[in-house]
Every structure is written in C-alpha cells, then in structure tokens.
Subunit: 111 residues, 2 copies
DNA sequence: TTAATATATACGTTGACATGTATATACGTT
DNA sequence: AACGTATATACATGTCAACGTATATATTAA
C-alpha cells in the first residue's frame, strides 16, 4: 500500500474547492469554464486547482478546440477506496467484541 | 451524504503526522507517549494533533491514571469509506464502455 | 493579420497552520 | 505536602498555500 501517494491524494482533495471539483467531475468530464460556472470561483483559481490536481495525478486533460476537458483518473481513487476498506476491521472488531460480551453474559446466566 | 463532515475528516487526516497517527491507531488504542515514541515528533505536537483530531470527532479518549488512551472513532471513516465506494462507478463505467467497444468490434468482424 | 474566446501563468498579499519552547494541569507515589 | 510522570496549553515564529489582479498563451473565426 503506497501511503505517500495516498497522502498526496488526500492533501489534494482536502482543499474545499478541489473537493467540489472532484464531486463535479465524478458526474463526468467538464471543461474549465463548466467548472467555473458550476462552482463559484474565478477562472485562474480553477485553472490553478486543476494544475495541482493534474500534478497529483488525479485528472487528465483532453483538448477540444480552445477548451480543455478534464476527467478524473480512476487509480488514485481506487487506492484510497482500498485503504478505507481496510478500516472496516475497526467496526467489525467492535461488533465481534460485542458478540463476545453477549456470549459471556449468556454463559454467566446459565451457571 | 454529509460532505462538510467528510471534508473536515479529509482536511484533518491529510496532514502527514495525523495521517501517521491514524495508521498507528488503526492497529489499536495508544497512549500519547506511545504515539510520541512511534512517530518521531515532540509530545506537545502530538497532544496538539490529537486535540485537532478529537475536535474533528476522529478519536476518543479514555483515562488510565495519568495516561490518556486514544482510539479511532469508527463513524467518520465509515462515511469516507462509503464515499469512496461511490467512485466505483468511475472505473466500472469505463469497463462497460470497453465491453461495448469490444462487442462492436466483434459485430463489425462478422459483417 | 486582427479580434475573440478559452485557458494558463506570474506575482504580491494575506491568513492559516505546524513547530518549538516554556509552562500549566492532572494524577500517583512517597 | 513534595516530587515525578504524563499530558495539555500558551505564545512567538516561520512557512506555505489560496486568493485576486494582471497578463500571457493557445485556438478559432473573420
């Protein structure tokens, strides 16, 4: 599990505007001006955020005349998805412990 | 889906030291001095990071004499887990499109 | 070539946050 | 009570990153 790549992804999408860009791009590819319109931030800021996301490997670009169409890269999100899956032990273990506790109580009642 | 809560969680665990604290606490509860030893940062810094994580609802504390034992809260990680699951469409759709493409090619070959 | 549209970059300013040092608080032991 | 250990907080400092404004680059159209 490549934690430093995940940290970069986390750091990148933790910024509120970029988080919103991710939410938007999840619905499908969008041009810069699409994003400017959808979220309420200036064009240079959007370009800058997209640059940062691109550097982090979270998006890729396609040219269409003067427009740049941005899409989400799947891999980094898959990685984080897998990482968060590994947390499931956190709550499953608790349920197991609860089960153990309940069994123990039952046993005590029967004695 | 509570995006503002998720953003807070992301922002909190994106910081490298706190990310490492999460990785450590995933293995089980730890005292402050445990964490100080495991990661290589000063005690006040660890306390401060734990304070921030606590404010964000990511950890809870139990007292044991002078020690404070920190554990991960399950819920915020469950939320992010669910959110990242929603990205699966991202790559599944692509596979679907690939399937479509392959079917089309086959059809063309048969004509 | 000139103009128009779409996007990217440069730069100065500002605010937020992480760090280190010092100190306060909490709890236990003698 | 006095001391030691464990943890939390206060404060000054430095760094980084986001923002706004201005401008550069790219692409198409006239």
């Amino acid at each position: 599990m490549n934690t430093s790549a995940m940290q970069l992804t986390l750091l990148t999408i933790a910024e509120p505007n970029r988080f919103n860009i991710v939410e938007l791009l999840k619905k499908g590819p969008r041009s810069v001006s699409d994003i400017v319109q959808a979220l309420n931030i200036g064009q240079p800021q959007v370009s800058r955020h997209l640059r940062i996301m691109s550097d982090a490997g979270l998006v890729y670009v396609e040219r269409k005349a003067q427009q740049r169409i941005y899409s989400l890269e799947a891999q980094p999100f898959q990685e984080l998805d897998a990482w968060f899956d590994s947390f499931s032990r956190l709550w499953e273990d608790r349920l197991d412990k609860l089960d153990d506790l309940l069994s123990e109580i039952k046993r005590e009642e029967q004695e």
